[in-house]
Subunit: 328 residues, 2 copies
């Protein structure tokens, strides 16, 4: 009976919520993109609609970098990794003469990264491995509490996109489970995604290092190994989603060719599907980039969007506001 009672109350909640009359997605300008999103959600949630999707199947997947927050001029996590190498340098005197660390310690991030994949892997291993899961999480929180974006001077967690934060909440109000599916590290996103996006840590899928369970002086811990275990990018995104969720999303949002396969797999499923690309077109309020950008390159997905029925959001035209209100 308890369950029945709770279920009944929950079932009527959306109806009440709708009657409260607030316009959804206030930071989205009226136009084709907003109409497509709202129209889709209404179609799949209206009881009796031929496109009705059972609540259990309302899964929405969101890329993070460039889709939910800024990724320019450099992925936030790359900035974190470089700062963390500098923070750990005192314990590694050899780094003063060993590349790529020597360049990082001199503040020459460009030269440090010029070593390509090998350099990046060394920096990831040094900055992302070797701690317990709980220690790593705390180091991310400490860094985010004080690090600021070089161009805007804002805290990074204040560089989330307000229209997307509203969209995540709107989808949840309509019975969707919202997941982050990021090429970035899952452990880098989990400490702050609940506060920033309302997405709990267990609904984040991302790249990861290998983990190992150990008992250290009677204290059981999960230790991060200096070794990449899974890359949640490109064809890794559908794999990561299947591994974690076990079903295909109904909605996917991305902004780069790294999201191509996630959009492809999502929108090829049976029944109603929504695939959306956030196109960075706003050099006044954010950045404008696509085909030529080394970060967040958007080329093939932009070409194929019309034929595949993917909506392209024009950030400059479709968003009334870009960033979430600063919290500091």
């Amino acid at each position: 009976m308890k369950t029945r009672f709770a279920a009944t109350l929950l079932a009527v909640l959306p109806a009440f919520a709708e009657k409260s009359g607030a316009e959804p997605l206030p930071s989205w300008r009226d136009g084709a993109a907003k109409s497509a999103i709202v129209g889709f959600v209404q179609r799949v949630t209206a009881p009796g609609s031929p496109d009705f999707v059972h609540p259990a199947e309302r899964i929405a997947a969101f890329d993070n970098d460039g889709t939910l927050w800024s990724e320019k001029p450099m992925y936030v996590q790359a900035r974190f990794a470089l700062d963390r190498v500098r923070a750990l340098a005192a314990g590694h005197p050899g780094w003063k003469t060993e590349e790529p660390f020597a360049s990082v310690l001199r503040g020459d991030d460009r030269k440090a990264l010029a070593g390509g994949e090998q350099a990046v892997l060394k920096i990831i291993a040094a900055s992302h491995g070797g701690t317990t899961a709980e220690q790593f999480s705390a180091s991310v929180e400490r860094w985010l509490a004080q690090a600021r974006h070089p161009a805007t001077g804002r805290l990074y967690t204040d560089m989330t996109y307000q229209p997307m934060v509203e969209l995540l909440a709107y989808l949840r109000e309509n019975g969707f489970k919202t997941f982050i599916v990021s090429g970035g590290g899952v452990a880098f996103i989990r400490p702050w995604c609940e506060g920033a996006y309302g997405v709990p840590p267990e609904q984040v899928i991302g790249s990861s290092v290998r983990l190992r369970y150990e008992v250290r002086k009677d204290e059981p811990v999960v230790v991060r190994q200096p070794e990449i275990d899974f890359v949640d990018d490109k064809a890794g995104k559908p794999v990561g989603i299947q591994r974690h969720i076990g079903r295909r999303p109904v909605i996917a949002f991305g902004n780069s060719d790294g999201d191509f396969e996630m959009l492809e797999w999502t929108t090829a499923g049976p029944g109603p599907r929504l695939g959306v690309i956030i196109h960075h077109t706003d050099e006044q309020r954010e950045w404008a980039y696509d085909r030529e950008s080394p970060v967040g390159r958007l080329d093939r997905a932009l070409d194929e969007a019309p034929a595949r029925g993917w909506r392209v959001v024009d950030m400059r035209r479709d968003w009334r506001q870009v960033f979430s209100p600063a919290k500091d």
Copy 2:
């Protein structure tokens, strides 16, 4: 406003539910085990309690085989794998003379498994790889719809433990997120766990084969490879939980030494923690086994339970009823 309104209603729901007055866990006999569980839940959910646990941190982890349903005389998934080898045999004429398949096809499961780990890996590769994720899921559903337990004649999904089904629901009513953390295959559990336990597929952690994304004749699919990717057992359980959930559970239930590390890690965390072992003591209604059993061996965890503060549930004494009511 909508969100505020919904949040308010959700916040008062537990209060309403409590007032409905139904006794929780009707299939548990009154006694130390039930009191410990109910007392713990009341302590961590009572506002103002020094042991109050924030709803976001209310994570409960449950082993599956032997904790939520029967695992005797053989893991259900092993039975599925053997049946699936027989179902696929027509397409593999070579299996008639190749072990372990030849023994499986003659119905001599014992001899088939006598080949040890190599034999098991061959059977898993043959029975669990090579299909798309969606095809595999459908094959599990087809099999469960007709396969019956050799001793009880029941459908396997009717061999879930009613006291545990009630416990899962009781924890969810009290704001817990319930996860299955199984040594068995995640893809074997996901098709039926929502119906049987109220646990959605995305809240299942388990062993897995490697997955690969492919586009086959314009159809994007995730294909199961004939290769084990992750073993979610023993020290793999804390690793699987950290990978998937990103935080340590507050409650863990298991029944064998395969759950030792999960219980150890869970109950070593700060604040209130509950670790429980289901002890199979009921040869009348189910099975009685522990230290000597090849399936679900419970030895070290039983020895160390008192010192570690883990509760041991005596199935015969503590459960009024064992199995869920048959649905066929």
